[in-house]
């Protein structure tokens, strides 16, 4: 049986940059999710986005999986990077661009 943790891991393994967010990349439904999408777009990186509003199991599951209580959540190359504040901070320091260069 596939658990939500297996599903989340498969999402994270499927692409170098994976974002769990509220809404879609085209229509974010939360200001913090929108900000992370905008930063990723500015970095010019392709990313897979998963809308937690479409699945309550995913919405709760990702919080437990990452041990992180808020959304959005960004993963790069399988590693948890953080939420909106940390992504913004890394971007302003120019470190996100380095992390996400493939």
């Amino acid at each position: 049986m596939t658990t939500i943790n297996d599903t989340i891991q498969s999402y994270i393994d499927a692409a170098p940059v994976v974002l769990f967010m509220k809404g879609t990349a085209d229509f974010p439904q939360c200001g913090f999710s929108a900000q992370v999408v905008q930063i990723l777009n500015e970095c010019g990186v392709d990313f897979n986005a998963h809308n937690v509003l479409e699945s309550d199991e995913l919405r709760q599951g990702i919080k437990t999986f990452s041990q992180w209580p808020t959304i959005p959540q960004l993963y790069i190359k399988g590693e948890f990077i953080g939420g909106c504040d940390i992504v913004t901070e890394l971007f302003q320091k120019g470190e996100l661009q380095t992390l996400s260069s493939l």
Binding site: F32, W68, P69, G82
Partner: protein
């Protein structure tokens, strides 16, 4: 949920800290200046703050933006 309640909870976990919290009842912005953050990366600092807030993060707080500085970092910004 009020900014004051969050500030009170954070004060208990970071008694040495200078803390300010603003918010509209659902979205909050916290700035915490504490030497407990010394030598810790942003991810670890955020985890410390979330741990201090515990169950409040489940429902009561919809969104929380965190700025976590050490004293010397804060003095240099």
């Amino acid at each position: 949920m009020t900014p004051n309640m969050i500030q009170h909870t954070l004060n208990e976990a970071f008694p040495d800290a200078s803390i300010t919290v603003d918010g509209d009842g659902r979205h909050f912005y916290a700035t915490i200046i504490s030497d407990q953050f010394e030598g810790k990366l942003p991810l670890a600092r955020h985890r410390m703050v979330y741990a201090a807030l515990g169950d409040l993060m489940d429902e009561a707080i919809h969104a929380l933006s965190i700025q976590a500085f050490t004293t010397s970092e804060h003095n240099n910004t």
